[in-house]
Symmetry: C2
Subunit: 175 residues, 2 copies
């Protein structure tokens, strides 16, 4: 896990889908800078302030989306992962991913984002590994995503293969 | 729609997701062969005998999947479309597709199948157009799928584009 070390790996008690669980990680890269009063945790809890999420997506330059639809998408995603940085009594949303699924065979991961202040330290990798672990725990065997060109190599390093056996990701556009 | 003509296009009364609706089509290609006592219809009703579905998938050579998981996948798909041929009082499952979705932005179409006896007559195209129409009606703007190499051109003709702007479909494989 590179910079990341799972502190509470044994603390999860549920394998039910949609039941939230939380894991804390040490953030060795930042700890030296900010001292011991700092931690990062990953959670599948869906109670995310949509303005926090919008701020995170703004920070990476994504187009804004109607919050009403974002709320619906989160509600109907199979898995929602958020990453929080905690300093003293303040917490900040610094990462996010979610997946749609049929709860049986397939899952597709969407909206993977890490705040620019925390990029380049292995957090994206940790977020994806956490997301994959959760999907595998729910017995999903076919994990897919659609990667922008600049992140294809990032996902490749995590075990994702583009166009395996010639299978093509395709997008529908109105004729 | 080629061979297909929508007979009851105005009969749909609901725009709620997950509410079943049915449409009948004439099957001009076959009508001449079998006489007037034949019709084909498309429905989003999920009451599908899983053995009928297994028989259809067997007919196109797909690997068998545990029915328990197939049932769960159908239950948790956003949209399920089945195509039935009716001759007199008998009906037969001849086509199927389904889609996962976040109910807001994205849908991914899976398990598109047409029985070999009914291939090459435009039924696959009609099934896909029906599936797309249903997703668009529920305000889904991003419709995606993963196409095997031999059907990429089929989907291209329906308006699906492979790797738009370099976006790559990727599949995760355990390291």
């Amino acid at each position: 896990m590179g910079f990341w070390k799972n502190l509470f790996g044994g603390s999860e008690t549920s394998s039910e889908p949609n039941k939230a669980s939380t894991e804390a990680y040490t953030f060795d890269g930042a700890k030296e800078k900010v001292g011991g009063n700092f931690r990062i945790y990953f959670t599948t809890d869906r109670e995310i302030d949509l303005y926090d999420l919008e701020e995170l997506c703004d920070a990476v330059g994504w187009s804004r989306r109607p919050l009403r639809k974002v709320r619906k998408a989160i509600q109907h995603s199979f898995l929602v992962v958020s990453v929080w940085a905690v300093r003293g009594k303040r917490r900040r949303l610094i990462g996010f991913s979610r997946a749609t699924s049929d709860h049986a065979f397939n899952a597709t991961i969407w909206d993977v984002v890490v705040h620019p202040d925390y990029q380049g330290k292995g957090l994206g990798k940790a977020l994806m590994n956490y997301t994959i672990k959760k999907l595998r725990k729910d017995d999903i065997s076919n994990i897919t995503l659609f990667a922008d060109p600049q992140v294809v190599d990032f996902y490749r390093l995590l075990g994702f293969m583009p166009d395996p056996e010639g299978i093509k990701g395709m997008f529908w556009y109105p004729n």
